[in-house]
């Protein structure tokens, strides 16, 4: 393996791969991405891959809105030889409680102020969009047609191939084990395959970003949390949008391949690195899904899995330089929606690092908000 690099990126998920590409495409040379396993082996390859602009905080909404534009043209931009399978079937966010409905109204106001074309619709209109939706007790729904989902493996593969063509090196099955600093500046990265001298390190380790920060003695306010998902056998297309019911903690979509992917958030999930699949999850998700979408009871489950959310205290990303470790940047804390914002979080971080004009104020994602600054508190997380 090489002995030195301009930039070392740790983590081969969508954040690391997109960041590598955005640096390389701006002319930065000698970049290496270090990945413990294979690309997409972390949260990225385990995610629902939904892309929605219907957020309650401006920060999440802007990142998602602008990332949608990028997903729309990604096959061409990255000259990808497969298809990232970006399908804009919309997101239907259904509301069964008054409190939640009031929050949705506030969220939609934020979205409209940013030009996101979300519609507030009646239960009947919602049922026209998803005929098998249970509208018993439904108060209303919000719908945005340009939301959708993509294939996470292919998106990462596309960034990987485009970055490789620009000269970026990828070292898979290689773990970062330590980071050396001198006089408050990063100087080198230790890996299972040797040391690499570098003055810039980007920590894109998702759930493990805290572990990496500890290597320079910094306590990142981030905790891992298991989230499980399942997939059914494929059937004829019958559901256009992703359906989200925050009240039922449920998200559920039909992929272009025909299978349904769904998950529920578990409010009692402990803060740890466990990623075993549980039987309780199967019962829980089956109950919630067949309540909201009764027709699904006939579908057969073929596989379940789990992955880790990298939770930040306010469910907004952390994009900042680590204090007392100059040259080390963190891009983590994506709190269960890092896939959909990755194209633009990568751009924002790279603009900042290269001293270019940032398309939105990156300070909003800074670490200072956790020590007395203003938190961004996002309400619309499953």
């Amino acid at each position: 393996m090489q002995k030195s690099a301009n930039v070392v990126i740790i983590g081969g998920g969508i954040t690391g791969c997109a960041t590598a590409y955005e640096l390389a495409v701006r002319g930065v040379k000698d970049i290496v991405v270090i990945e413990k396993q294979y690309l997409s082996s972390g949260a990225t390859g385990r995610c629902g891959a939904g892309v929605r602009q219907q957020w309650g905080t401006e920060t999440n909404a802007i990142l998602a809105r602008d990332s949608v534009k990028r997903f729309e043209g990604m096959n061409e931009e990255l000259e990808y030889d497969r298809d990232i399978e970006f399908k804009q079937g919309g997101y239907l966010m259904v509301s069964y409680t008054q409190n939640e409905w009031n929050q949705y109204k506030k969220n939609v106001a934020v979205q409209h102020s940013l030009g996101i074309p979300t519609k507030m619709i009646t239960p009947q209109e919602a049922q026209e969009i998803v005929p098998h939706l249970n509208i018993n007790g439904l108060i209303g729904a919000t719908f945005c047609q340009s939301d959708g989902h993509a294939n996470p493996f292919h998106v990462v593969d596309a960034y990987y191939k485009a970055a490789s063509r620009l000269g970026v090196k990828f070292e898979t099955y290689t773990s970062v084990t330590g980071i050396t600093r001198e006089k408050g500046k990063v100087t080198s990265v230790q890996t299972s395959k040797g040391d690499i001298a570098a003055s810039m390190v980007i920590n894109a380790c998702g759930y493990a970003a805290g572990t990496i920060c500890k290597m320079v003695g910094f306590e990142l306010p981030l905790y891992p949390q298991r989230h499980q998902a399942l997939v059914t056998e494929p059937v004829e297309p019958c559901q256009g949008p992703m359906v989200i019911s925050l009240h039922h903690r449920l998200y559920c979509q039909q992929t272009p391949h025909g299978s349904f992917i769904m998950g529920v958030g578990d409010p009692n999930e402990p803060k740890d690195f466990n990623i075993n699949s549980s039987w309780e999850f199967l019962e829980d998700v089956a109950r919630q899904a067949t309540t909201v979408l009764p027709l699904l009871k006939n579908l057969r489950v073929v596989r379940q899995w789990s992955g880790l959310y990298d939770m930040s205290p306010d469910a907004n990303p952390i994009l900042d330089e680590v204090p007392d470790a100059k040259g080390m940047w963190v891009a983590a804390g994506f709190s269960g929606h890092g896939f959909m914002v990755a194209p633009q979080t990568a751009v924002l971080l790279v603009q900042k690092i290269l001293g270019q004009n940032c398309f939105m104020p990156i300070e909003r994602f800074g670490l200072e908000r956790f020590s007395g600054g203003e938190l961004l508190l996002e309400s619309a997380v499953v």
């Binding site: 294979y38 593969d157 997939v231 039987w279 089956a286 009871k297 006939n298 057969r300 379940q304």
Partner: protein, 89 residues
Amino acid sequence: MQTKETIVCRCEDITLEEIKSLIDQGYRTIDEIKRVIRAGMGPCQGRTCRMLIAQELAKYYGIPVGEVLMPTFRPTVRPVKLGTFAGGE
């Protein structure tokens, strides 16, 4: 063997040729191959193709089949209806 016509993954219709071409491109484990072309993601969850892909990887890298990294086995073992888990049937 006719690699174009030999189906390795019957659930997802993946041929030996497609598998070999991915291995040539540098995809190194069953998990990586599965994620790019869905081999082993169908209703049988890789019962047949897992071993066939392992053989191809073993041949390519000149290692025993036992040393090829196996994907994680996860529930469900056999496809079960959602309604059954929900307690309806």
